[in-house]
Symmetry: C2
Subunit: 427 residues, 2 copies
């Protein structure tokens, strides 16, 4: 393995390229977006992943990594392009096929093509067929093709790229073994050499399983809310059962994995994915449920105060806590649906996402303190650590609607203890 | 609290009665079944719960516990009668109401009625209304009513009765506090004093959550089987993902809790339980899927060997590993469906369940070794520890169909390691 070309310099491609370059591999990063290539080469990227900037600076300085906007020759091509949803929730694999087409123009005997992008079951086989037809090189003998999905958690990408176990799914076992040569340069976790289909199924199964876990939390939340219990309290106490572990409900499921990958399985196996379909339905319904909850509270407030405008302050917009990513964010959906309502004056505190993006859509962001002080109703949507510092004693008169486990997170342990003690003491 | 009457001497009532009697409480166990009462008083019970017989003998000898078939007076009545499914999967709470009716004939000022049976949300309120109407005693002032569901795991009942946290759901907070007086005699876990409805919702939520977890395992198994992968291997490797934890699939969900309790929520909240409904459907479909798998293998075997009868040996019949309980067992369903097929000669090894019960239905049980030796196809249905001792090297020529994670349990760790080492060594 002399050099590696990583195709696609996004959330996964760029960190992978950098980490390999820090571990003795000569890496070129290819992206069709010229602005991004230029930015990467300046060491200036718009991803807020921790360690990313420092590590990028190091590999640029050492010249073990550089970015380019025309595909170079290489021994290894690692494809990390997006696979979003297209219409009707089917997988849009056009970026993967485009990457494969381009790679075919450079492919020579002995080369290895690794697809990291999440793809429907059978896609790697299709890619191998395309490669074989276009290049006349035999996959498994002349060239090698494998699917090696990533399993990283944004905000811990470098740590997880190193330590997570990894599936190397080759079209043949020789393909898996070629992939192993690349990943062993930086992966410390166990690597499982399996087939391409196995790796495809596995990656989709993992995110579908996470989606089901989240849907379970939302299903329980809906029942708790129906009976007017605090969903976080119901779940906290349910989790005291030795064999129950329900996640905290939020305002929905976002990001570019968990809300999308189950569809790849659902579309391939429509009659064998009832649970995944139900989970998608429940999680996709959650933002509207949160909106309904806020709207009900607003109407009650307006009626009680005899006013026709209620000041609602939202805490958080990103798709999960402590990241800057607004893509596919359910909190954004909630904000959009509240923003257009006549009887709501909406303000927002969002400490992580790019200020200009948010302000373009919703007007000025406000500080946490000013936002809460000025509001009639405060709605927690994202459990940023920043929000956990709120001292609720200072705002006892506010109406709080917690859809992120924010309020509960602080007093829950204390409350449990006090309750036990009180009871014991009073008897 | 002078004395306690436990109503219903089954899997939960009898251990609860015994444990209280071992902790300074004078307990009378009431059951309408005279044979059971007589058996209990002789120290001779048909439940195989560990420690049960020894503990029963102790409390009988000390005279802190005895059983009776007419309801006595008492300060505390603890109702632990069954709540099975009736037609259309609705909850049959007739035993609870019958118990409450009988208790009303003995109830006096200051008494406490605790319902441990699993019940639909709102049932405790109904019981309190009945009590108030029949006895003219005011609930919360003159008499006290609470729902205090158990969370125990058959085969670890005594340990879990002591250490598990517990919800005490009173009609009023005074009712919860009265319940606390009883449970503090033997419960070491934290006790949460909540409302009756909260306790009802919580218990049903817990078992529904477990049902969803199992359904997830079965959903993944179906997809893995569709693609001809070993479901246990797919799940084992998926669980290497830091945020994924899928259970091992089995041949279905049985017993008298997880397969039943979700229906109590589904019937009360038909439009807010999609995930629970999907889970029930998937788990109820599993035995037939297993049967189909075996039938396919039988037909293939018959075609290959040009025979019209295939000897199938089944490992396990109980509803879960290492218990004797056949009630609602999915393995029983599988056995029944295979037993009636013309081209299958069925034999069974079941080390825990009562021999006479099984033999009445299926003919003689056979020993593990004889069963496997004589079989053409061996089907694992229940992961009894007893079966994990099988040395598969001795039976390499057999066709194995593993629906309990039996075969996989032994070699999985080794296989993972060997695989990594092989790969590393070969490069």
């Amino acid at each position: 393995m002399k050099n590696v070309c990583v195709v696609g310099l996004g959330y996964v491609g760029l960190p992978t390229a950098i980490l390999a370059a820090q571990n003795g591999v000569e890496v070129i990063g290819f992206d069709i977006n010229k602005d991004r290539v230029a930015a990467v080469n300046r060491g200036n990227v718009d991803l807020t992943e921790p360690e990313l900037k420092d590590r990028l600076e190091i590999v640029l300085k050492k010249k073990t990594f550089s970015a380019i906007d025309t595909l170079p020759e290489a021994d290894y091509f690692v494809v990390a392009v997006p696979t979003p949803l297209s219409i009707h929730n089917s997988a849009d694999v056009s970026y993967v096929f485009a990457a494969i087409d381009t790679i075919c123009t450079k492919l020579k005997k002995g080369d290895v093509v690794i697809i990291e992008s999440t793809i429907p079951v059978g896609t790697t086989d299709l890619c191998a067929q395309i490669i074989q037809e276009k290049t006349k090189l035999k996959v498994g003998e002349d060239v090698f093709v494998a699917h090696c999905p990533e399993r990283v958690w944004p905000s811990r990408v470098f740590e997880e790229l190193k330590k997570n176990e990894r599936i190397l799914g080759g079209i043949t076992s020789a393909c898996s073994e070629k992939a192993f040569i690349f990943y062993k340069t930086f992966v410390k976790g166990v690597m499982h050499l399996k087939s391409a289909k196995f790796a495809e199924l596995l990656k989709l199964t993992e995110n579908s399983a996470i989606d089901v876990s989240v849907a379970l939390a939302h299903q329980v939340a809906v029942l708790a809310e129906e009976l007017e219990f605090d969903p976080y309290e119901v779940i906290e106490i349910a989790n005291k059962h030795p064999r129950v572990n329900i996640l905290n409900p939020t305002c929905g499921v976002g990001g570019h994995c968990v809300a999308i990958d189950p569809w790849f399985l659902i579309n391939s196996f429509p009659h064998k994915t009832l649970l995944f379909q139900s989970a998608r339905f429940i999680n996709d319904s959650r933002p509207q449920q949160v909106v309904n909850k806020v709207v009900d509270a607003v109407e009650q407030w307006c009626a009680e105060k005899n006013k026709d405008l209620c000041k609602v302050h939202i805490l958080g917009l990103t798709y999960k806590p402590n990241v800057d990513d607004l893509r596919e964010s359910p909190a954004m959906k909630v904000a959009e649906l509240l923003f257009v309502r006549k009887n709501i004056a909406l303000t927002i505190t969002e400490p992580h996402a790019a200020k200009e993006k948010v302000e373009l859509q919703f007007g000025s962001l406000v500080s946490l303190e000013a936002g809460i002080n000025n509001a009639d109703i405060v709605v927690g949507l994202v459990a940023h650590n920043f929000f956990k510092l709120i001292n609720h004693d200072n705002y006892a008169e506010k109406t709080w609607i917690d859809c992120a486990g924010l309020r509960w997170n602080v007093p829950q342990v204390m409350r449990g203890k006090i309750q036990g003690q009180e009871s014991a003491a009073s008897l």
